[in-house]
Each structure stands twice: as C-alpha cells, then as structure tokens.
C-alpha cells in the first residue's frame, strides 16, 4: 500500500537520504533497521510530510503525497508515532487520547474503549498529566494515541527506545496484536533482533541508502547483519 520511490533528502549540504525506495504491503509488518544517524527518522518524517523531500515520490494506495501537508496525511490513515513519543506533557492522558482522535471524532468513544482495553494502565492514569508518566507508560500512550486515529498504516519510530527489557517485550507483543487487527506497520528499530523476528520483510539503511533487503527471518541469518547488529 505504501510505496517510497527514490526518495532523497538533505539538511543543507548534508545528504541524509539518498534515493531510498521501499514498500509496505497491506497487513505487513516491515522493519527498517540501521545504525544511529542512518536516516531512519528522517525517512519517516519525509513520508508523513513533516519535512519535504528534495526528490522522489511517496504514494499510499496510489495517491501521490507530494502536494499534501502533514495534517492531511493523517486523514488518509497514515499515522506516524514519532521518535521520543512526543506526547503532550501538559495534558492529561485522556486529553492526549482525545487529540489522537482529532480527525476521527465520531469513533472517539469506541476507540477510547479499545485503547483502554489494550493498555489498562492508561485507564488507571487517565487524569494524570502526560509528562508525569513513566517511559513505558508514555510509549503506550503514544501508541494508543496513534490508534485513536483509525490508522491503516502505522509508522513506529523506535518504540522500545530506553525501556526496560520486560516492557520492551510487552511493546513488541502489542505491535503484533495491532498488526493482527489488519493494520500495516513500518517499524523503525535499533532492537534489530526482535524487530526482524516479528517483521515479514525488512530493509537495512546505511548512511541514507538501502543496502540490504529481504525477509525478516532471512536477514537474521545474514552474516553482515549479524556482524553489524547482532554482536556476532
């Protein structure tokens, strides 16, 4: 459903993305892995139109994004859960979730119930300010907030970053559960092992270029990947 074709981006003179192409099919989990500074976050920001590419093309179900602004992409079912969670710190959990459904007001109550069912801890904290939650709770809130917008495709940027192993496990389980509801996922992770495990397909990004691609499990066996990411 998502096609990224020869996408390039630069900060001034610094080329960050160099003709990146990738695809996410309907119902897929696709992982995008790569070292720190490879350009993963920039790629997601370009896809969700927070920044504009220098060249290249992004389409969702055939619709060209090049004239859209970031908030318009949301209405098309592409939801970007950004790096660092970016919840609204001075708003309560419930208000954060309500903002998540800014474009889907009619489904608000139903989605809220679903979100609380998926993350019961958020119900317990619903009146608390976002900024006062623990890291794991903030990540759950960010995911739940993304789900409020009826996503068809979720872009997740390092959802496990900085979390305790037990929470990380929980987050990955949740991602699989979300995917099982029919939501496609483009997952950016440093946690390469777990990501490749749950992903059907994966891309490896290095200094703004796609250097490897293939099935998730197959890449786990790839010697280069093992050397670079799995400490083998």
């Amino acid at each position: 459903m998502l096609r990224v074709e020869s996408l390039s981006f630069a900060y001034g003179d610094a080329q960050v993305l160099d003709s990146v192409s990738l695809e996410v099919g309907k119902g897929e989990i696709v992982a995008l892995v790569g070292a720190n500074g490879a350009g993963k976050t920039t790629l997601l920001r370009t896809v969700s139109r927070l920044v504009k590419p220098v060249s290249g093309k992004v389409t969702l179900d055939g619709e060209d994004f090049s004239r859209l602004r970031a908030h318009e992409v949301v209405r098309r079912g592409l939801i970007h859960v950004p790096e660092g969670r970016r919840i609204f710190p001075e708003m309560t959990v419930r208000e954060n979730l309500r903002l998540g459904s800014f474009t889907t007001r009619t489904d608000r109550e139903r989605n809220l119930e679903k979100a609380f069912a998926l993350f019961p801890v958020l119900l317990a904290r619903e009146g608390q300010l976002g900024g006062t939650l623990s890291g794991g709770e903030q990540q759950m809130l960010a995911l739940a907030r993304g789900l409020m917008a009826n996503p068809r495709l979720l872009l997740l940027d390092e959802p496990s970053l900085g979390l305790a192993p037990i929470i990380v496990k929980q987050i990955f389980e949740t991602i699989v559960a979300i995917n099982q509801q029919g939501i496609s996922i483009l997952l950016v992770e440093q946690n390469v092992y777990q990501s490749l495990h749950i992903a059907q397909r994966a891309y490896v990004l290095e200094r703004g270029r796609v250097v490897l691609q293939g099935e998730g499990k197959a890449l786990l066996e790839n010697p280069d990947v093992k050397k670079a990411f799995l400490g083998a």
């Binding site: 602004r69 318009e72 001075e90 474009t103 907030r145």
Partner: protein, 287 residues
C-alpha cells in the same frame, strides 16, 4: 482598612484589563513562538473602533464588544495569514522586527486617520461609582471587570474543553506532534493570532469609557502586557491572567502606600524579584 480595601479592589479592577491583553499576548506567543510587539496597537485599534461606534452610532462601549471582538479577530487572522505565516521559522530577531514594524504602521496609520488629538468616550457612567462599605467602586471598571471575567471564562472553556481549543494548546506544546494528530497548525496560528487580537480589542473597548485614546496609546500597553506575560510565565494563558491582576494590585498598593511616582519602580522590582526566584515566571517552566 478602607484605604487598603480601596487599593486592592481598585487594583484588581484595573488589573483585569492587563490580564486580557496579557492573555492574548501569551496565547500568540505559545502557538507562534513570536512576541507580538504590536499587541498594544491592537488595543489601540479596539479603542478607536469603540470610539467610532460610540460617536457616530451612539453604541455603548460595552455593547460594542460584540462588534469590536469579531472585527479584531478577523484582522488578527488576516495579519497572521499575510505577514507572520511567511515568517515562520525565520530568525527570532526578524520576527520581532516584523511585529514592531507592524505596530509602527498601525499607530502611524491611526495618526493619519484620526490625527493625534485625544479622543474620549464620555458615557453617562464614565465617572460614576458604587459605594460599597465606604469603598468607592468605579462603575465602568466594575462592569468591565465582570465582562473581563466572562471573556476569560469563555476563553478557558474554549481552550480546555473544545477540540479546537485543545488543538491550539497542542500546537503550542509540540507543533510537530500536533500535525501528526491531523491538526492544521497554520490554521491554529491564525486562530490564535485572531483570538489574541480579539482579546486586545476587547480590552480596548473595555477601557475606552475610563481612558483616553490617541495613536500612540498602544506602546504602554505592549510594555505592560509583556511584563504581565513574563511574570505569569511565557505562553501560559492562566499565568498571564494572574500576572495582570498582580500587576494591577501592586500598582494600586504602591501608589497608595508608597508614592504615585514610584509605582512603576515597585512594579518592576516585584517583576525582577519574581524572575530571580522563578526564572520561568509564576506558572511557567524554567528553561
């Protein structure tokens, strides 16, 4: 005791107007990250509009709020769309120059349109008062305070309870994240500037019956609003409201118990003390 009460109540009533102007400035800063140095000139436009409506249509200044606020709202919207929107992401000093320049254009425009003569809105109640347990309460100030409270409450309900209001707050807290919620942040900037301008206009209409109007009247309001907003915490609307009332009361108390001439010194001393103790302002976060 009566003098103290007189000073506190009087200060509270004048502070209400500062609160409105400050709230508008703070809202604009929160969403656009631009200090609108033309805020006082928007107050000035509100005053002239009130004066025009009063002089030519005999519309009561308090009633004229229903015209002044929407007109200023539209003006604010248009100014944001035509000028500030283009400056988004520009250097802060350029944005400051832009709003300062806007202020100059507005005050000089007013001078050409209305000359530099002082204009008065002299209503039948401009110098009337209620006696309340020995305290003389200015009638127009009391009415304006009630209206200020109503406008402030409406603003609060809007920002806290409605989707659009929450979207404005979200834009102020995290512009990128707001876009990822499907919020059109440029529209929110327009809306915020419009509301800020409407609040300034409302303040202008509310003080018109007890003050006087001339093209340069805005400068002192901009300065005061800036103090109010920094005191309350940049970007915090509730902080600005609180700051406005505190400044009003401080002015009044220091003029009563110290000296009229030193009241500005007292206000700025308090301002500095608060900033040293709480660098982010009363309700702001320290950076």
């Amino acid at each position: 005791m009566i003098r103290l009460l007189q000073a506190v109540l009087g200060g509270l009533l004048t502070g209400g107007v500062y609160a409105l102007i400050g709230a508008g400035l703070s809202l604009i800063f929160g969403v656009l990250r631009v200090i609108n140095f033309a805020q006082g000139e928007l107050v000035m436009l509100g005053m002239y509009l009130t004066w025009l409506l009063f002089t030519f249509l005999h519309l009561d200044p308090f009633v004229s709020l229903i015209v002044v606020m929407p007109v200023l709202w539209m003006l604010g919207w248009a100014l944001e769309a035509l000028l500030l929107d283009r400056m988004h992401g520009a250097l802060p000093q350029n944005q400051i120059l832009l709003t300062m320049g806007l202020g100059l254009v507005l005050s000089n425009g007013a001078m050409m349109a209305f000359t530099s003569d002082y204009r008065l809105v002299s209503t039948t109640y401009s110098s009337s008062s209620f006696m309340l347990a020995g305290v003389a309460l200015s009638q127009p100030l009391a009415v304006s305070f009630v209206l200020t409270a109503a406008i402030a409450t409406a603003l609060w309900v809007f920002l806290a309870r409605t989707d659009t209001g929450m979207a404005i707050r979200a834009t102020a807290q995290d512009r990128d994240a707001a876009q990822l919620m499907g919020i059109d942040v440029r529209r929110m900037s327009r809306l915020a500037f419009g509301i800020g301008a409407a609040l300034a206009g409302a303040a202008g209409a509310l003080i018109a019956p007890t003050y006087y109007i001339f093209p340069q009247v805005g400068g002192s309001f901009t300065l005061k609003a800036f103090v109010v907003v920094v005191l309350g915490g940049l970007g915090s609307v509730v902080g600005a409201m609180l700051g406005g009332l505190i400044i009003g009361i401080t002015e009044s108390l220091s003029a009563t118990y110290i000296s009229t001439e030193l009241k500005d010194v007292c206000v700025y001393s308090l301002f500095l003390i608060v900033l040293i103790a709480r660098p982010g302002g009363l309700l702001g976060k320290a950076e």
